[in-house]
């Protein structure tokens, strides 16, 4: 909806008779960024909160791995029974996918107006 569609062209098309595009969010309220109340941003985005969240997240990550000391993980093949297999496999495969998408993007990405000029 970022660009105003060409109304006249649509009206000429019998398939589209009577269908007018709806423009959404015209009156969406906006504020200046950064949005500060009493000189402070929203509590969730303060550096302090984010640091706390990282600590919390790291703690949980550690817990999920350590839990494997007490819980017997059933293995179906070989590697999947190793300690922290799921953690390492999840992390590494995601890293791989992100990098692959990045490299593929170099070849496949085009400006998002690419198909507009036809």
């Amino acid at each position: 909806m970022s660009e105003q569609p060409d109304d006249t062209k649509l009206a000429d098309d019998p398939l589209y008779a009577g269908l007018k595009p709806v423009i959404y969010g015209e009156n969406c309220p906006r504020v200046e960024v950064p949005d500060l109340k009493d000189g402070q941003p929203h509590w969730l985005v303060r550096a302090k909160t984010i640091r706390l969240l990282w600590w919390l997240f790291s703690g949980i990550l550690a817990l999920t791995v350590l839990a494997q000391l007490f819980i017997d993980v059933h293995d179906y093949f070989t590697v999947d029974g190793w300690f922290a297999f799921y953690a390492i496999f999840g992390f590494v495969s995601c890293l791989g996918m992100v990098i692959f998408a990045k490299v593929l993007g170099l070849f496949l990405k085009r400006p998002d107006t690419y198909y507009d000029d036809l």
Binding site: M1, G25, R30, A67, C94, V98, G105, Y114
Partner: protein, 564 residues
């Protein structure tokens, strides 16, 4: 009470509803939007198993309604989706869209109960028609073009399917919907026709091309029916066909990689539909009881959480008019209901414990483990992490959190909020009480999703995928781009080639005009000039010049003879 003799298929209730919607008073429409699917549900749940309604059509005995538990399960979720989707839409959608959505859902219910290939085909095409109308209801120039491309793709798919059906009918004499062998051209055609609707390669692009161009309410409806009826058709026609494992794996990773490159939030979700349908296609390919149960369960829970995700995206569009991640962010401040519901949907799609995805998708990967398909299993596990990456975190992060966009929209209208809350609750309910869903699956369920080791391994997998997301966040900086896909050939290269073809036709035509036509007109004059009364070739030749030429020829012959 159960019905063993039917007057009409359940789909007809919704078709009637679709016809009534435009003519009733606007205030009565929401009632109709809820009541009609409710009546359909009532009918669906009173159907006995077996063939319930037959008719003669083109000399064939067609089975308009054949019920079984898996068919009932799919029809149920389709009717539910029509109800909640319609309720979500009624304040914003055009009447055309509401009516077309209802007819589209009716087609899906019709396919669910189709006992033979002809009935299946008829409802299949019915869906293609009305889903195209839903795309058009986007109301923009982009939607008009996308709708035409979408329509063409599905009509081609329909033709391929029909060729297959006719082949099977001629070769075997049976048009029964039953497990087919991939041993003839005809059955391959049926498989390809169905796979086109499942957004399988190489034509996966139709989905992310068309769905995001529909209206904010239309894309919710579109996400549910076409691909999932294709999954049901695969489940009934091609269980255990190995080729589907590879097709599905491709779809899974295609969805992840393209979603990672994408900027438009609804296109991210569209790619993740392909990804999720990929899981189901793999399950059909594995084909064991556990796998097929997993497919049915996953289709059911997928429709709910995917609709929920698209509802939250639709709510954002309705309130802000923005659809690109680069324009959005920080909306949790003023849209808490939408942000929470969207996040629940995102957790469910990632199979987070105690959400619906956890109890359904795990059955499919488990069946790969039992089937000792090591490669497939590692692929599915990596992909499960990838789902969390591209949909589970990426979508809510870039839309509701990340940097502040400064936009301060309110939560959407009450009906939109209610629809989102209903589906969010459903995601959690199914996750916490899996037996709610398990009792309706095609085979008896012995699978237990909640074991200590499953919980621990899944949490490890997902949370470390989350870590990977935040570690690689700089690599995922949003760009104002789209990614090339197979649609490049028919959206760019095809039109370009056509344009240059037309250009060269014009040039060739000009050349032909000057070289042939114009010269042709001069031919009679040339004839007169050279052969006319004064023409050089018509003059009498003096004897002397003839003698000279004879002498020349003799010399040539002499020299020639000498040399040889």
């Amino acid at each position: 009470m159960t019905i063993s003799e039917l007057m009409f298929p359940p789909a007809f209730i919704m078709i009637l509803g679709a016809m009534l919607l435009p003519v009733v008073r606007a205030s009565f429409r929401p009632v109709l939007l809820v009541l009609v699917p409710l009546l359909t549900l009532l009918m669906i749940w009173n159907l006995d198993d077996g063939v319930l309604l037959t008719a003669r059509f083109l000399g064939y005995e067609v089975e308009l309604v054949e019920a079984s538990n898996v068919r009932r399960l799919f029809a149920t979720i389709f009717a539910l989706m029509a109800m909640i989707g319609g309720f979500f839409a009624f304040q914003h959608a055009r009447v055309v869209e509401m009516s077309a959505s209802m007819a589209y859902a009716a087609g899906a219910v019709g396919v669910s109960f189709a006992g033979d290939l002809i009935t299946l085909f008829l409802f299949w095409e019915f869906m293609a028609l009305f889903s195209t109308v839903v795309v058009w209801c986007g109301g923009t120039e982009e939607a008009r073009r996308a709708g035409i491309r979408y329509g063409i793709m599905h009509l081609i798919g329909g033709i391929v399917l029909k060729i297959g059906i006719e082949g099977v009918a001629v070769q075997t004499g049976s048009i029964e919907v039953q497990a087919l062998m991939l041993d003839s051209f005809a059955t391959w055609m049926i498989l390809i026709g169905v796979l086109i609707n499942a957004a399988a390669p190489p034509v996966s692009a139709w989905l992310s091309d068309a769905y995001p161009e529909a209206s904010p309410t239309g894309s919710v409806i579109l996400s549910a029916f076409t691909t999932k009826t294709a999954v049901l058709a695969l489940l009934l026609l091609f269980p255990g066909q190995q080729v589907l494992i590879w097709v599905g794996l491709y779809m899974i990773f295609y969805g992840i990689i393209y979603a990672l490159m994408e900027n438009d939030m609804r296109r991210i979700l569209a790619y993740s539909i392909v990804n999720q349908v990929g899981f189901m296609v793999v399950g059909v390919g594995i084909g064991t009881e556990l796998a097929l149960n997993g497919v049915a369960a996953h289709a059911f829970s997928h429709i709910i959480y995917k609709a929920l995700l698209l509802m939250s995206a639709g709510a954002v569009i309705v309130q802000t008019g923005k659809r690109k991640c680069t324009d959005l962010g920080g909306l949790y401040r003023t849209m808490p209901v939408t942000a929470i519901c969207g996040t629940i949907g995102a957790l469910a799609i990632s199979s987070f414990p105690y959400t619906s995805g956890f109890i359904s998708k795990s059955m499919i990967s488990q069946s790969a483990a039992y089937g000792e398909l090591a490669f497939v299993w590692y692929g599915l596990v990596a992909a499960s992490a990838g789902v969390f990456l591209h949909a589970g975190i990426k979508f809510p992060w870039f839309v509701f959190f990340q940097k502040d966009s400064g936009l301060r929209p309110k939560d959407p209208s009450w009906n939109m909020q209610a629809a989102m809350i209903i589906f969010a609750v459903a995601c959690v309910l199914l996750g916490v009480f899996p037996s709610l869903l398990y009792q309706f699956l095609p085979y008896e369920v012995t699978y237990v999703p909640y074991t200590a080791d499953h919980l621990v391994t899944q949490l490890q997998l997902l949370l470390f995928a989350g870590l990977a997301f935040f570690v690689t966040l700089p690599l995922m900086k949003r760009t104002l781009t789209i990614s090339l896909d197979i649609d490049f050939f028919y959206r760019k290269l095809g039109p370009k080639l056509w344009k240059s073809f037309v250009h060269w036709l014009v040039v060739l035509n000009g050349l032909f005009q000057t070289l042939v036509i114009d010269q042709g007109k001069r031919l009679p004059q040339l004839w007169i000039r050279y052969h006319g009364p004064d023409g050089p070739l018509a003059r009498t030749w003096p004897t002397g010049s003839m003698l000279l030429w004879v002498a020349v020829m003799l010399v040539v012959i002499l020299i020639g003879a000498r040399l040889l």
